[in-house]
């Protein structure tokens, strides 16, 4: 067999149309999972701040479990393990979204908790002194400010989760890496294809970074 150490640009170029179909899958898993993860994160993040001890405890358990186990194990558990419990298969897309959701949800819980705790005590006191209820103080004063502070760490988490979806090739969901593997199986151009795959991740995460930076700046501008 002829070993080619040369980077073959035409092979790289040729792979692009075969890899592009992976992008919508990668985006769907990432952002579908993150959207649900955000809801989970708000729920457990606020639970973590509850005055009620067992609620805080419940949130801690959730966070520890899903931060403390690898996401690869989580997705394998959901895709291969859960069907045995549920008595029916789970499709790969659903499993991928669920894995991102529960995993990012644990990290986002901590982001939410930190964001809310970072708001000065005086904001709540001023709200209460004006007659706002505790719920109103949270909704109109604390949460909007916390949310702004949460944007950078949330962006960070989004980038991590996008990259995490690359592991889901193991359950056969047709995301970027999976498309690459399928294509390489017929062309044997691993060097070029994984290079292009890497560039595609970079394009996604970089775009996100730029959007976030723009958002942060316009956010600061109106304060």
């Amino acid at each position: 067999m002829d070993v080619n150490f040369q980077f073959d640009w035409s092979a790289a170029l040729a792979s692009i149309p075969h890899l592009l179909p992976g992008i919508p899958w990668t985006l769907a898993i990432s952002f579908g999972g993150l959207a649900i993860g955000f809801i989970i994160g708000i729920f457990f993040g606020l639970l973590r701040l509850s005055p009620v001890a067992w609620m805080r405890w419940l949130a801690s358990v959730y966070i520890e479990v899903f931060r403390g186990t690898p996401i690869l194990v989580q997705v394998l558990f959901i895709f291969y393990g859960l069907p045995q419990l549920l008595d029916g298969p789970i499709n790969a897309l659903t499993a991928g979204i669920a894995a991102i959701a529960v995993n990012s949800g644990a990290y986002i819980s901590e982001i939410v908790r930190g964001g809310v705790q970072s708001i000065e005590r005086g904001q709540r006191e001023a709200s209460l002194s004006l007659g706002l209820s505790r719920a109103q103080a949270f909704r109109y004063v604390i949460w909007p400010q916390a949310l702004r502070r949460m944007v950078p760490p949330l962006g960070n988490q989004a980038i991590i989760s996008i990259k995490d979806t690359s592991l889901f090739s193991v359950i056969g969901v047709g995301e970027l890496v999976r498309q690459g593997q399928i294509y390489i199986a017929t062309t044997f151009t691993a060097l070029e294809v994984y290079f292009v795959v890497a560039l595609m991740y970079l394009a996604i995460t970089w775009t996100l970074s730029l959007l976030l930076r723009y958002f942060e700046r316009s956010n600061l501008a109106d304060q």
Binding site: E120, Q123, A126, L128, S129, L130, G131, L132, Y140, Q145
Partner: protein
Amino acid sequence: MTTNKPPIVRMQKLHKHFGSLHVLNDIDLEITPGEVVVIIGASGSGKSTLIRCINGLEEFQSGLLEVDGNLLKPMGKSTKALQTIRTEVGMVFQQFNLFPHLSVIDNVTLAPIKVRGQRRDQAIETAKRLLARVGIADQANKYPSQLSGGQQQRVALARALAMEPRLMLFDEPTSALDPEMIGEVLDAMRELAKEGMTMVIVTHEMGFAREVADRVIFIHKGEIAEQGAPEQLFDAPQHERTQAFLARVLKH
């Protein structure tokens, strides 16, 4: 002050602890509507804690506290009365505590709209009138961070006044301000006092206290050590502690 109006604030045998620290010790205090009461005392003597009890930002362990007919029980947990009290008692803080994510006008209209259920246009109209009254009508659409400290504190005053409080609490309203901005805030407060607002003011501005106070209260280690008309308290303090405190603060 001898009037037969019922007091707006009535504290009896009020005790407050932070853990093992006895911060307020057997406080008896009545404040009459229209009265301007200035509270002075050394750092850590319990001045802030005392006025924060009045609007329930601090709970107390025993005693009685009645604000405008609403009874607050020891250890919190009288939410309905507490809620009523907070809508009727305004507070201005040392650190202003404006809402940084809201414009000046939104800072002032938030509570009237959400708590009093005012219509937005009506709340804005009131807010503009109040901002004009404290001399910052032209800043309505700015954000707090775009204002000077003195302007921010005047917004905070307007924000509290927008709820049409029956009583205003001030916790060192000028202590975080640059010297050249203290005057503008004190002027606004002076104006308010003239209009008959009931005010409880913690301050280190002794000149201002002498001028606006109907009564000055000196707190020492969580107790009311001495109180009286400003002339009496400043010019002829009875207690050794008061004398020592005044000697210290009036020196500079």
